[in-house]
């Protein structure tokens, strides 16, 4: 118990130590987060009318972001899997960082769920026993179960590992390894269930095909690792933690494969839908060329396709992929391309036209953007905190010292870190 309290306090203390750059970053995030809180207040008083959503297009920026972030959360498995199943040494060292990303991504998903719901004050209606939790019928109920489970799994695995490292007691593999294996499978399942959420509705022909879950997984495993690569590069530059080239290179290879598959699936969807050009293809046609003269999403589609193609080519060429000056560009392009494709390219056109043929357009409002940016900011805030503390433990700066129960040696020297080998 005492160790646990020390773990928490040492963790927090380490996080709070930082220079100007760190506090500037956290300050900006905090400001943006305040925007999200204000937008949430507005939505709970005036209602969703402050957004651009309508009865016709009733899932907008929030749902798009939440679907995308589930994918990012699932992407953490691209670290865990090689680390534990293939015993990849470089990955093994940084697994816990992936789990921290998964935790913050799932928290972001939850924030977007609150933003999206008409009545977040009635969320308790979903609790089993107190309310009604509609299993096995409702896909949303399965999704909630999967996401909650994933959050708990990552929390348990990640923090148990960190706690073990902190106290110096080795991890009990009899408990730990099964949890890790479960979390690997569970990661795949969260994004599959999210895909099922929209792919099981015949009312929405643009989503109603068996390719949806595959598409979701491939884009998740392309976008997630891109973010992780960028995070690793920032960690290398700004902390004392050194992440192996082999880890980054493996992630880049995973992105290459998955991005390629995602582009292949996109191509196959376009061919199949547009060959016969039935009414079921109206959503895709709206996205690509416009419908009835309404074309607001057309530039988004083509730019996302361009981003993803350029990123894919960059990832494909080994000399570019291993060039750590060009790799971040490719990662950003892929991440942004997939974000646009999930949001504007998948969620919004699913509602255009409505099942009875009405074509309308969707324009997010300022408040919606403020809320979305704010939720991302909260997520990044949490991510920074978690990663910082985790790094501190991983590089050995945060360690439990039984002699000085309150402070750890690293602090006694006034913050000057001990030299550490990249281990």
């Amino acid at each position: 118990m005492e160790k646990l309290i020390n773990f928490t306090t040492d963790y927090i203390r380490y996080v709070l130590k930082g220079g100007t750059k760190f506090y500037a970053w956290m300050g900006v995030l905090a400001l943006l987060s305040a925007g999200a809180l204000y937008a949430f207040y507005l939505q709970n008083t005036e209602g969703l009318i402050v957004t651009g959503m309508t009865s016709q297009i009733h899932d907008g920026l929030y749902f798009a972001n939440l679907v995308f972030l589930v994918g990012v959360a699932a992407g953490a498995v691209t670290i865990v899997f090689p680390a534990y199943v293939y015993h990849h040494k470089g990955m093994h060292e940084v697994t816990v960082l992936g789990e921290m990303l998964a935790i913050s991504a799932v928290i972001m998903v939850t924030l977007f769920v609150f933003a999206h719901m008409g009545r977040p004050d009635r969320l308790w209606h979903m609790l089993p026993f107190v309310g009604i939790f509609n299993l096995p019928g409702s896909m949303l109920a399965w999704d909630v179960l999967a996401l909650t489970g994933y959050l708990m799994l990552n929390f348990a695995c990640g923090f148990y590992y960190l706690y073990a490292k902190y106290t110096g007691v080795p991890v009990n593999n009899k408990i730990f390894m099964p949890l890790v294996y479960i979390s690997i499978v569970w990661a795949l399942s969260i994004h599959t269930v999210t895909a099922f959420l929209i792919a099981t509705m015949p009312a929405r022909p643009m989503w109603f095909h068996s390719m949806m879950p595959i598409r979701f997984i491939t884009t998740a495993f392309a976008a997630g690792p891109c973010l992780i690569i960028l995070a690793f590069m920032i960690i290398r530059k700004n902390t004392k933690m050194w992440i192996q080239d082999s880890a980054i290179n493996l992630l880049a290879v995973i992105v290459t494969w998955c991005l390629g598959l995602a582009l292949f699936l996109t191509m196959s969807e376009i061919v199949v839908e547009l060959y016969a050009r039935t009414e079921h293809a109206n959503g895709l046609y709206y996205l690509m060329f416009g419908l009835h003269g309404l074309t607001s999403l057309v530039p988004w589609f083509w730019s996302s396709l361009a981003f993803m193609l350029v990123a894919f080519v960059m990832f494909l060429i080994p000399s570019v992929r291993t060039n750590y000056k060009l790799l971040p560009i490719a990662c950003v392009l892929a991440f942004v391309g997939i974000w646009i494709e999930k949001g504007m390219g998948l969620i919004v056109p699913g509602f255009i036209p409505t099942p009875i043929g009405e074509v309308t357009e969707y324009y997010p409002t300022f408040i919606e953007v403020v809320m979305s940016v704010g939720n991302w900011a909260i997520g990044f805030l949490i991510l920074t905190i978690l990663l910082k503390g985790a790094i501190g433990i991983l590089i050995g700066e945060v360690k439990f010292d039984a002699s000085t129960a309150e402070k750890s040696p690293g602090f006694a020297s006034g913050g000057k870190p001990a030299t550490s080998a990249p281990r």
Binding site: R119, H125, G350, P355
Partner: protein
Amino acid sequence: MSSLMGAAALMAQTDDPKATVEWAEHFQTNYRLMTPAGKAEARARLERRYSAQYSKKVTVDTTEALPGVLMGYALNIRKCIGCRRCVKACVEENNQTRGKSPGERIEWIQVLRMERGEFAQDKMNAGYPEGLGIQVGGNAYTPAGQVLEGQYHYEPEAVPEKDATYMPIACMQCEKPPCVKVCPVRTTYREADGPVVIDYNWCIGCRMCMGACPYWARRINLTTPVLPKDEMNPVTHYLGNRPRMRGVVEKCHWCLQRTRQGRYPACVEVCPVGARKFGNLLDPESEVSLILARKNVFRLKAELNTFPKFFYFYD
């Protein structure tokens, strides 16, 4: 926290203390699972609140499903002239929000105007590709007859127009409703006598049901409903036309406040051409049963296996 903020927001609607949402209403359980005593309490609470809010005596009926009844509906698409009186009658009866800003007005019925199809001689050579013989005729892409493509916002001087047919669409009250299946909290469900209903106090506003409905029958209250006191219909049913609140989904429920008392729904009564018919599918003498027996009847999107109890026919 969100619960508190939401509750605080709700309570700041009017200055009449009786019109505020009582704490007990926040914590009431799903209507279907309530005991009769619980239902009576919920009913009393709502009657108090609505009567204070709308300055008139409001009744909230809780009549259960009628035994031996399966409600059915039939609409004669040959007769419909697209006058939209059913749309407006429904709004007169069912207390929908009716503000002026976009998103503040809800109508449960939408009338689709379809074209009869115009085929022209001068389009004959306008197909593509040319050269090796035209593969797609020039008169393709002209919608003709019963299709789910057309105009919803038509505004001619007079209806019916010569080159148009009309089809109103609202909730089909399916026997196998996709909306019921996806609801995570089981707030929408099929009542024993047929209609698919929503417990507005239990809905969390996730809008999964709106995505799953193949007929676009459901609407979301994007804001606190705008309902002037003099336009409010004080005879309500708990699962029917009682005034809704911000953030919950609503739809046609075949005027439960009327049909459970034996009266026709408002849209049936108002149709000037008598295109709409309503009755008990289990009664062979009812007009709907006779229509099924005698006329050619079809359902929209029957291939989706939703089994609607709203039939279209022509004669």
